[in-house]
Subunit: 385 residues, 4 copies
Amino acid sequence: AVNIERVLEEISAEDDGMSHSRLMQTATSVREISKQLQRRPIKRAVRTIMIITKARDNKLVYLTRELTEFLLKTPRYNSDLGVTVYVDAKLRTSTRFDAAGLLASNPRYSDMLRYWTPDVCWDFPEKFDLVLTLGGDGTVLFTSRLFQRIVPPILSFALGSLGFLTNFPFDTYRSTLDRIMEGSGMRVNMRMRFTCTVYRAANNKRRPSTSSLPKMATPELIEDSQSEVLNELVIDRGPSPYVSNLELYGDTHLLTIIQADGCIISTPTGSTAYSLSAGGPLTHPSIPGILLTPICPHTLSFRPMVLSDTLCLRICVPKGSRSTAYASFDGKGRVELRRGDEVRVEAGRYPFPTVVGEGGTGGEWFESVRRALRWNTRGAVQRSF
Amino acid sequence: AVNIERVLEEISAEDDGMSHSRLMQTATSVREISKQLQRRPIKRAVRTIMIITKARDNKLVYLTRELTEFLLKTPRYNSDLGVTVYVDAKLRTSTRFDAAGLLASNPRYSDMLRYWTPDVCWDFPEKFDLVLTLGGDGTVLFTSRLFQRIVPPILSFALGSLGFLTNFPFDTYRSTLDRIMEGSGMRVNMRMRFTCTVYRAANNKRRPSTSSLPKMATPELIEDSQSEVLNELVIDRGPSPYVSNLELYGDTHLLTIIQADGCIISTPTGSTAYSLSAGGPLTHPSIPGILLTPICPHTLSFRPMVLSDTLCLRICVPKGSRSTAYASFDGKGRVELRRGDEVRVEAGRYPFPTVVGEGGTGGEWFESVRRALRWNTRGAVQRSF
Amino acid sequence: AVNIERVLEEISAEDDGMSHSRLMQTATSVREISKQLQRRPIKRAVRTIMIITKARDNKLVYLTRELTEFLLKTPRYNSDLGVTVYVDAKLRTSTRFDAAGLLASNPRYSDMLRYWTPDVCWDFPEKFDLVLTLGGDGTVLFTSRLFQRIVPPILSFALGSLGFLTNFPFDTYRSTLDRIMEGSGMRVNMRMRFTCTVYRAANNKRRPSTSSLPKMATPELIEDSQSEVLNELVIDRGPSPYVSNLELYGDTHLLTIIQADGCIISTPTGSTAYSLSAGGPLTHPSIPGILLTPICPHTLSFRPMVLSDTLCLRICVPKGSRSTAYASFDGKGRVELRRGDEVRVEAGRYPFPTVVGEGGTGGEWFESVRRALRWNTRGAVQRSF
Amino acid sequence: AVNIERVLEEISAEDDGMSHSRLMQTATSVREISKQLQRRPIKRAVRTIMIITKARDNKLVYLTRELTEFLLKTPRYNSDLGVTVYVDAKLRTSTRFDAAGLLASNPRYSDMLRYWTPDVCWDFPEKFDLVLTLGGDGTVLFTSRLFQRIVPPILSFALGSLGFLTNFPFDTYRSTLDRIMEGSGMRVNMRMRFTCTVYRAANNKRRPSTSSLPKMATPELIEDSQSEVLNELVIDRGPSPYVSNLELYGDTHLLTIIQADGCIISTPTGSTAYSLSAGGPLTHPSIPGILLTPICPHTLSFRPMVLSDTLCLRICVPKGSRSTAYASFDGKGRVELRRGDEVRVEAGRYPFPTVVGEGGTGGEWFESVRRALRWNTRGAVQRSF
């Protein structure tokens, strides 16, 4: 349907006289390519699977054991055995997981059962063809923290009711995995993450930067730490009784002064989380936007906003601010921002691919919004005669 | 920066085994192309200009006269004369516009001064290299109605304070036009419009369809009329005292039942208009999303939503509905929807290119939001000791 | 607990030197009296009962028949017969109600079974010791329209699920009525109503005022019509595409200009109805306040407001308004307001006494808010790890 | 206008057969008395005045000096001297206040210039006929904290722009005080305060209760501390990353479970403060209501609520709660609430009388809402053609 040749020609053409109608056709073509990419299923062998769960939850450990055994023993890809499985290194000695018993049942498993640590995820994310999570949405957020660079496709099983990010019921794991590994393959949503970078005013820097050659943003700012967030960055006033007074810049323009308890910079994925509590709009995860949602703003007119994901947002604590502020990343890693410090937020280079169900992306999200939030469910106002 | 060759290869590659990391690179590249397209200025000769204004407003007619004369006489493109100007055919006999006087001042103008009618806009939109509007945002909406298919670039002058769509002050028209025609060229925002199509239940059809071969949507539905909207489609209960009971479908899925005074399906451009009044989020015009904003919903949980612009939305009046509903398109063309009728809304194939100021798109929109809406301006709640 | 003597003394004391501490004690005492009045049950003979229902709903007519027979035949107050029952005059000839059959069963009923018309309600409201309604909240609103002056206590039976105003399940009518007529008596909520008066600009008056000596509000305004509303007065733009531009006065001060689709002036009882849809706060029916809730306001800062019920509000269509407006009263009696016309709203002199259940007023309202609106029911946003 | 005799009769009448129409007349009369009390000016000699300001703000100390001298020397009440003035004991040795210089100017001042301490305010609030505050709304809140029992009338001067509670411009202090002391007297608003009492679960109690005989609320709860608040009680999750899970009781009924960042229990006076930031309705200070406003609630349907001030609200941290909570009182006195602890909130017995301007209460509040919050100020959404 899309004439790719023309897209290429148009874009590489260096004549400035390109007419507006040709420009429009190009824009349309690019959008079309983008849609097709979303719908294209990935069909390739899944030879190495990682399982993530709460190692401290006994029930989950038993289920992990069951899942591991299923993966190890179910014959795949013309072999008489299953695939390589990585489980949390904390389970190595778990009596509930009972690795010894597993290996005893088939000595060939000893090459196939392996253990992941956070370092492995950081250094060799390409190792994993698929990641399975067992638990709730929190476990998926934990997975996002583990993979701060490239992220393998994530398939999330829910134990109880399905969540926004856990869209496969655990009790159908066999048919789900059979379909993905040997059937129709998997389709993924590329969920945008944000790269959040904390910059310290030169005199606020406590510990030396991890990089040997500190990137100097401006003469006075030193890069400190960086996180990829899947849901949101929250900046709040912490225990200070005073309202935050934050400067918000888009690229180099001062967009507004935020006088509020704080503000939330949320991805569309995070639009069903904290941003929603603070009054932000429900936003489909495929939208390339940045949600700006104030927390208890001190003006009546501070309506939530959806910004273009081409912006680099900067949230700065002014040098003359009455108090400091606190930043947290997907609800974790809280750091204090002192006067002169800032956080920069940009659409990240490493999106978070989540496997979608058979029904496809659109309906699934709506379904979870209705189910988990009771969005627009009945219970209506008084009706007249 | 973007490796176009690779984009091409990836997309045309038909191997289903494309790895997720390659897929991700492709997605990123496509997004990058899209951004670059937005930033690319159009530099080509503007030889034919159309001027749109309220022909009934005397003051505007005088200014149109002034602008016309400036365009006709200012030498452009190595000629000793200006460019061709199309004005509203209603001005042909206007004493205030005084076409006769203009032609008397230079007989060569007689070839250059022409008159547009709605039919010309419909049949030959490519005639115009640029459209100038004089007036308020309403005049820009009127322009969108005139160009229901391909739309030339629109440059909008504001008479008084700048609006959301009128971002050039009239009193600087000379320098603005000089810059665009002979200086750095123009950059445009491709604003999404929606194609809204009314379908009638077979037995509700009053007049024969305009097309000789009626497109049958489903056996019972007959296409009736179609409009491109720049701001929004509104469906409301009209004079009925009963609340609307509308079914909302996304593609073929029933998304929700809307029990409300009505609902607004808004473009991001329209997010500063009626949708905002009804509680919708401010949304940057570059976001490829569809805003669903209920009007006085009858449930507490019907929060506004930003949907993907890849959806085809259908709003249906159920066969068993207590009352009918009314649709209007950018505030005009109100039609009654009877039981069984529906309206379909899709991202249109013909976006609306608006010329942006020197500052570029991001800052300009923010500036208009702050200026016109007093978004997050001071006037704060009580402060403590 | 309240020293009434002191209240009297304080208030009648004409010495201007009353100290602030005495004044405060007085204020407290008055509030205390008010609370005690609310809790005081009325225990007096209920000898005449009126039944209101939708005469066109067959099922309701059968139930009315059943209820009527129960009231006529169950011995009360040391008599061997029941009490006088007034039913809708429309049922006089209803075959479903079968008045003839009822009278045939006991000739003494012929004195006890009577028929009400709207005129009887208007002229002799004191006739009725108790009014029973069968139906939904709409039937209660209809009852409020019938009794525009003094209102007898209203006991409302719900057929299906309980509503905000229909707090007794029909299937327990026997025990409910036994308790009220011969047991612990009844406690009532005095629900505030608003007196809404339409005033016409002198030249807008179509029909002569009903009063022989027209009350002249100001030289140019003539009183036109008056309604008591239990829920709300709504003023909207009607079919006009232009936003309403209404002036809102509190007593004689201009409070604000309302630029919106309209506005709702709601009682606390109405806070669960249309006002809630438009974003107004849930407000306990005992609060002596007036809710001002804009419908789709054109400013971001037009937050809903709860005003003192001591104010006389006036909503005026300015003489220079672009369009007219429409007023409706509890969803009925829609009238056009032309330029110069106004509506005045005041806490009415005739509250609407609704019988409350055993549990008392506070819990009952909360229960209905939770049940009918699903207020703050679970279905929560995403939780973190 | 009000027949007080009848009120008395009705209320003291012990016959249970009081008809509903008589009951209604009584209710109306009580409301009428209440209104008249509000409008009644207090005209009595103001012989002792207290001045409250920030003792650390040099500019304010100079103005306090100026005001003190004016009050001491301006002849009042047939004397050749002014009235007794109490200033903050912290000013006793202030060189900027220069008490010595003041006394040197007239030795008779030595009896008239006195110093207040928090203890004096607690023990002998009746000493003061009038309290003047200099500063912002925060100074008025500080004054409320000083007077935890009976509160003298408070007249608040604003230095810069007027606030919600500071409604007299300082530069007119002479005419303002002349009018109040010798002219038309003063009218006061009786602003409701809340009595907030912290109860500790028996095993959570750290320090012994101040009362010798601890009031036992239930066997397990021990009264801990008590505060009168003028604006609001806030209960939040503090530094805990987990959402609060609070039980809200009205008298003995469980009204709802609050899953949110916290909740605000606000007076109508506080409706322009934190409650407004969190989405609560603007509520006129004369409304006898309790505002319940959630902070970032985790359900979509948790709309703010206005409750009757006859309720005793109890906010409890459940025994099994995941985390503790924090309470603060008018933004101060933050205390941790551990599992099993609760806070009770009731309309206080000691309202806070604020002197109102000449214009009277209604208009003044509206004016401050418009001025300080820019409520419904222009800056409107896009208008159509």
